[in-house]
């Protein structure tokens, strides 16, 4: 039987209350969001926080909305809410395509966007989406809020720019009229973490790519993205040859290691092929196909 080590538990009543609790209890306290990464780690005793600060009752961290030219997701928005959101789907099919293959419906009922971003597992699916779309996160501490681009957010596996006495309040994504987007994932079995995933958006205008973003997860691409592949595509026609070349450049950004999910060369092959497939579909969607 797996049981977490002894811990204390308190419910935050507001974001500022959560922050003052984090300050009061110091480094041994942790935010508890969906708990679907933290509780499994506590059961394995990989994490042993002495105080859990539950933010599930904070309605101010819920909801999906459009704010000017940005999509805003509260930190406590669940995977299921992302999956089922008409407004997210209207702008980016990638959200629905990605969420459909994250874990299973029960995990998706509980796991959150903020938890996924802050967990920063090197195989986190939403990290690839966040980097592809060049999203940003809003982080709040006692001294105020700051906004950090997702392409600067990760400091390493399981490490982010969120300081011990800070909390992530929302994730923001720029709206790009005319963008097509897609997500491709290979997992060992339904509901599993990815062997490799690729997520992209492409804007095609007058037959040329004017804007694009390419995200990769589980293959140790720096900041979950492939900037050289993106730069290559800008100003080019989305032909098979060009998309193949971009996919190869994306695979070059991957630096996977061999593990129980597969050998490194297979993962590199996936980074290439999945990026290609996602680019083909996203370019077609942008051109209204």
């Amino acid at each position: 039987m797996q049981t977490p080590a002894p811990t204390d538990y308190v419910r935050a009543t507001s974001v500022s209350h959560a922050i003052s609790l984090l300050e009061e209890h110091g480094e041994e306290s942790r935010i508890l969001a969906g708990g679907h990464s933290l509780l499994p780690m506590m059961k394995l005793r990989i994490a042993r926080p002495e105080m859990l600060i539950d933010i599930n009752e904070l309605d101010e961290l819920r909801g999906i909305r459009v704010d000017g030219d940005e999509l805003v997701l509260g930190a406590m928005v669940t995977h299921r809410e992302v999956l089922e959101s008409p407004v997210l789907f209207e702008h980016y099919a990638i959200f629905r395509e990605c969420e459909k293959v994250i874990a299973d419906p029960l995990v998706r009922n509980r796991g959150t966007v903020g938890g996924s971003m802050c967990q920063a597992d090197p195989s986190e699916d939403l990290s690839a989406v966040g980097s592809a779309l060049r999203g940003s996160v809003v982080i709040q501490g006692a001294s105020g809020t700051r906004t950090v681009p997702l392409r600067e957010f990760h400091e390493g596996p399981y490490e982010t720019q969120v300081e011990p006495a800070e909390i992530m309040t929302e994730v923001r994504f720029p709206i790009r009229p005319g963008a097509g987007s897609a997500y491709e994932k290979v997992e060992r079995r339904v509901g599993d973490w990815p062997v490799c995933s690729a997520g992209v958006y492409v804007v095609v205008s007058d037959g040329l790519v004017t804007d694009c973003g390419i995200g990769l997860t589980a293959v140790s691409a720096e900041h979950f993205c492939a900037p050289a592949a993106e730069a290559f595509l800008i100003g080019k026609a989305p032909t098979e040859d060009n998309l193949r070349s971009a996919a190869q450049l994306a695979a070059d950004a991957a630096d996977p290691s061999s593990d129980q999910r597969g050998p490194a060369d297979y993962k590199k092959h996936l980074a290439n092929e999945l990026t290609y497939r996602a680019l083909v579909r996203a370019a077609a969607a942008s051109q209204g196909a």
């Binding site: 039987m1 797996q2 049981t3 977490p4 080590a5 002894p6 811990t7 204390d8 538990y9 508890l32 708990g35 679907h36 509780l39 499994p40 506590m42 059961k43 859990l52 539950d54 599930n56 874990a103 299973d104 419906p105 029960l106 995990v107 009922n109 509980r110 339904v190 509901g191």
Partner: protein
């Protein structure tokens, strides 16, 4: 710490350690053994219950998190009119063998059918993709849930 929750409409209060998982609260403190506890790793889904009408894996929720909330377990599935159609469906279609996975399957199935009353078999498979059954090969479980979809419930719904 003291926690109180409604389980199947009945108030349950107990003094527990904050680290206690909801599945163990349900089995030990509320004495409801219908909810099973299997993999311990959030994978098998036999521990599935509803919290505020939402199907969740109760081995991955703290009992403290359910304090003040509504929990429903497999014991609460049967209504005044008798068995829920998903329960009847498992009987009609031989949807279980050893029965270990069954409580989770039933709770997920009812939650799912309340949102998608006329699903395809593929949608049913997707809905139970967070559950593991080592006996049936899933076919009869899918048939059982499909049977239940064709026999709408008359009892109260999850949400």
């Amino acid at each position: 710490m003291q926690v109180s929750m409604n389980i199947n409409g009945e108030p349950v209060t107990a003094d527990i350690e904050a680290r206690k998982l909801l599945v163990h609260f349900i089995r030990e403190d509320a004495g409801l053994r219908g909810t099973h506890w299997g993999c311990d790793t959030s994978n098998c889904g036999t521990c599935t219950v509803w919290v505020d009408g939402e199907a969740v894996k109760s081995c991955t929720v703290l009992a403290a998190q359910a304090d003040g909330h509504e929990v429903r377990t497999v014991e609460g599935l049967e209504g005044a009119d008798g068995l829920d159609p998903v329960q009847q469906g498992f009987i009609e279609c031989h949807g279980l063998q050893c029965g270990f996975c069954t409580p989770g399957m039933l709770m997920t199935a009812r939650w799912f059918l309340d949102r998608n009353p006329s699903p395809t078999k593929d949608e049913i498979r997707e809905a139970i993709s967070g559950q593991i059954c080592r006996c049936t090969g899933y076919k009869n479980i899918v048939d059982a849930i499909h049977w239940a979809a064709e026999h709408p419930r008359t009892n109260e719904v999850t949400a």
